[in-house]
């Protein structure tokens, strides 16, 4: 079956612009996670959805970052007034039901470059 997909693969934007990053999880997976991976680092947690609701958004760095999952499948990560420090690879992962016993499957990521 299809894995996790993310679009676009690469996004270049100018400082101050608004961007949206999309994640299509594996069909039927109720848990969805967003992580951010800066150059040379491991991924860092941003937000966790269980169904349509954000169960944990403690990793969002500030109020310029927002994510939605209105129908419990596709999720969009939205970044307002982008800054150069937002440049990173944004990874999405999904799992069957969530929780520590459930393997997370990752997408290929979106590389965001803010000029």
């Amino acid at each position: 079956g299809a894995g996790v997909s993310q679009t676009p693969s690469n996004k270049v934007t100018e400082k101050g612009k608004y961007v949206e990053l999309r994640c299509d999880p594996i069909s039927g997976h109720t848990a969805l996670y967003w992580y951010r991976q800066s150059l040379g680092q491991g991924p860092e947690f941003l937000i966790y959805f269980q169904g349509t609701g954000a169960a944990d958004d403690s990793g969002l760095p500030n109020d310029r970052f927002f994510a939605v999952r209105p129908e419990g499948s596709v999720s969009t990560l939205k970044i307002q007034r982008t800054e150069r420090g937002d440049s990173a690879v944004y990874l999405c992962a999904s799992s069957t039901v969530g929780g520590f016993t459930d393997t997370q499957y990752f997408g290929p990521g979106t590389r965001l470059t803010v000029l």
């Binding site: 996670y33 992580y35 040379g40 680092q41 491991g42 991924p43 860092e44 947690f45 966790y48 169960a55 944990d56 403690s58 990793g59 690879v89 990874l91 992962a93 969530g98 929780g99 520590f100 016993t101 393997t103 997370q104 499957y105 990752f106 997408g107 290929p108 990521g109 590389r111």
Partner: protein, 115 residues
């Protein structure tokens, strides 16, 4: 808060050799899972192997095995008969049963298999 440390930024071995990647973690939890993920240049994180903290037997998956030392909070990955396709970044990750529902990653080890 949990932390994961990978003390080897880079490693390099010849094809067919055995290599061991180190990982230590810090937690006050008793129940958790540990993971090793592989990230090739395509950026997609691929699960290599996972270990439940309550299982004393070390996990194995074909050429990949772990040495899990719970008391020492150590979780190393051994790759036997290494292949060129094993060249990638390797990340150790932790997921606790209680508290924040997220993977916590180490900084990664860049592994190069030379022909």
């Amino acid at each position: 808060a949990q932390t994961v440390t990978q003390s080897q930024p880079e490693m390099s071995v010849q094809e067919a050799e055995t290599v061991t990647l180190s990982c230590t973690y810090d937690t006050s939890e008793n129940n958790y899972y540990l993971f090793w993920y592989k990230q090739p240049p395509s950026r997609q994180m691929i699960l290599v192997i996972r270990q439940e903290a309550y299982k004393q037997q070390n996990a194995t998956e074909n050429r990949f095995s772990v040495n899990f030392q719970k008391a020492a909070k150590s979780f190393s990955l051994k790759i036997s008969d290494s292949q060129l396709g094993d060249t990638a970044m390797y990340f150790c990750a932790f997921f606790a049963a209680q508290g924040a529902q997220k993977l916590v990653f180490g900084q990664g080890t860049r592994l190069t298999i030379n022909p």
